[in-house]
Symmetry: C2
Subunit: 360 residues, 2 copies
């Protein structure tokens, strides 16, 4: 168990690392951020940082000496890096969670092994595999690289048989899966934390809207039945337990049908704090970032109680130019990430509106 004054090591220097570091401070914990050279806004809020590559083992060794526990902001931590660090200091969530979620084929096989549903999928290693998979799953369907996919990267939609070979080119002939298209009615996610003692606390499921494959808005309460909400939380609990997970994770679901016919399909698991949990900073009694810090510190989890009706809006690319209007909106909570350049598709910040429910 960590005590105040101890230091948490964080791999990655982006907005998630930044918000983890900011959540550690009020708990009396220091943050040490490790990230390769680049635009690392997490360095701005931390008195300790290392600028080095993830395969710089002397730097990783010194970093491990300086911290009590190590966590990460992204699922693509190289396996060698995770193993090297884990032999020196506890890496939480554990490297097994990384291994399971870094590869879509492994991830989906794991999800099914827990008795949970996900869209139909077939492994694809060649153009011939892909043609056979399309015959089997039909069109439209989605070709996704097994590794390094996020925010729609490494994905190609196959609208008809004529687009098979261009899709295969689009993903660079990488090992992949073909996934059946799911005519979902909405997308939801559960952000949950699992403590070192195995206690799980989930935030209420939230509804997510995407634009160009990037999260655009998160809304609570989600327009789902209570039964669907409980099923989503139960699925997250089952996933957390099977991974012997410690920390915050997110499970994204497709909701198919509506009312009494609503069913859930797991879309993906993120072994980290998640964009769809950003609303918790202002809208819940404990933020997902504080919850993550509590979990990896070996402390009890905090209350996940929601403070009202929520709308979280991502500020993507040029959206951030709108900051003067956003800071002027009464009650709106602005979170800018301190990135130097607003490139298209880049997450520059978010804004949250919390409306007390007695007022609605």
């Amino acid at each position: 168990m960590l005590k105040p004054g101890d230091t948490i090591g964080i791999l990655g220097g982006g907005q998630l690392a930044r918000m983890i570091a900011m959540a550690a401070a009020p708990l009396g914990l220091k943050a040490h951020v490790f990230a390769p050279k680049g635009d690392n806004p997490a360095f701005e809020v931390s008195g300790h940082f290392t600028e080095a590559n993830y395969d710089d083992f002397p730097a990783l060794s010194a970093f491990s000496e300086a911290v009590s526990v190590i966590t990460y902001e992204f699922e693509n931590v190289p396996a060698e890096t995770a193993a090297f660090l884990d032999s020196r200091k506890p890496v939480l969530p554990n490297p097994k969670a990384l291994e399971t979620t870094q590869d879509r084929l492994v991830e989906k096989t794991f999800i099914r092994s827990l008795g949970l549903s996900c869209p139909d999928f077939i492994a694809v290693n060649s153009l011939e595999d892909l043609k056979a998979a399309v015959s089997s799953l039909g069109t439209p369907s989605i070709l996704k690289t097994r590794r390094f996919g996020y925010d729609g990267k490494g994905q190609a939609r196959i609208a008809d048989e004529a687009s098979i070979s261009s899709a295969w080119d689009d993903i660079g002939h990488a090992p992949a899966i073909l996934e059946a298209y799911v005519p979902f009615s909405r997308e939801i996610s559960v952000v949950a934390a699992r403590s070192q003692s195995g206690d799980v606390k989930a935030f209420e499921p939230c509804e997510n809207e995407h634009r160009h494959h990037i999260l655009s808005r998160t809304l609570l309460p989600a327009a789902i039945t209570p039964r669907t909400g409980w099923a989503a939380i139960e699925a997250a609990e089952r996933i957390g337990a099977a991974l012997a997970y410690v920390g915050v994770f997110a499970v994204e679901f497709f909701v198919v049908g509506s009312g009494d016919d609503e069913t859930l399909l797991v879309n993906e698991i993120a072994p980290r704090v998640h964009n769809s949990g950003h609303w918790t900073i202002d809208g819940a009694e404990t933020s997902q970032f504080e919850q993550h810090v509590r979990a990896i510190a070996g402390w009890p989890l905090g209350s996940t109680k929601r403070r009202g009706k929520i709308e979280m809006i991502n500020l993507i690319g040029d959206d951030v130019e709108n900051w003067p209007d956003l800071v002027a909106e009464p009650g709106l909570k602005l979170h800018l990430y301190g990135k130097r350049e607003a490139r298209p598709g880049r997450k520059m910040g978010h804004a949250t509106r919390v409306t007390p429910e007695k007022d609605t």
Copy 2:
């Protein structure tokens, strides 16, 4: 007007500077902390800091080059330091506010000049002055140094005529005032912000309990009449306007009498974020720290709406040893300041309980 990416300079490296820096980050503003060598917990949450004395003018000059605006966490910034910096970059709140509040005699004269009441006082420059003052104001009365007093430092209570000369020794024969003892029923404060356009937003008056002259608990709502609450806010607005103040400040009051007979006496003005405003981090839509940053950045002030019934408890000295119980209390928000050593009387952190009022 500052824009995201700009840097705020902060004089002082303690918990107030730390919480200002932490409030600047989500607004996309960087913080650069300037403080003498020592235990500076604000350095832990800031990517930029200068460790130098307040009379190190080359260091101050470099600091002023690195920032867009300069603020401070304590009222005892040396006048020369403030003037040197103010000639290079805007110092907010302005040095006049410092000058007025650094000296109890100047401060109380200023308060009276606005038509506001404060306890009777007499300037004391010698033992003879003190004897005469005690004859005039009676006992008990309080001898206070004109400068450098906080948390009961530089004060001596005069219970009777026999204790005059030991009180004079206690404060080191420094220029002082003798203040009449006020049989107050409670102490309240107003934490307010004034923007660059002269807009004032006050948080609701809070009730403060002290132990050994140090703030122990802050409670909201305060047990005062609505009329007293409005009078306190009106007094704060008058003070802010007269100082052409920009930023957050606090006005502490004694409440004398009760019910329809309640009257207010101004105790002191703090030209900075204030311990009695710490509840706003968790209990108001905008924290006093964010409000201060908004004001000095030239941005509009945020909503001061309160989220529920509030109890803020200071963790003084060894109180902080109780952290395992505090982190385990559902819904309690813990704020540790990251100080290295828990000396008696030292503010080590605070904890806030917010109870939604519909539940009470």
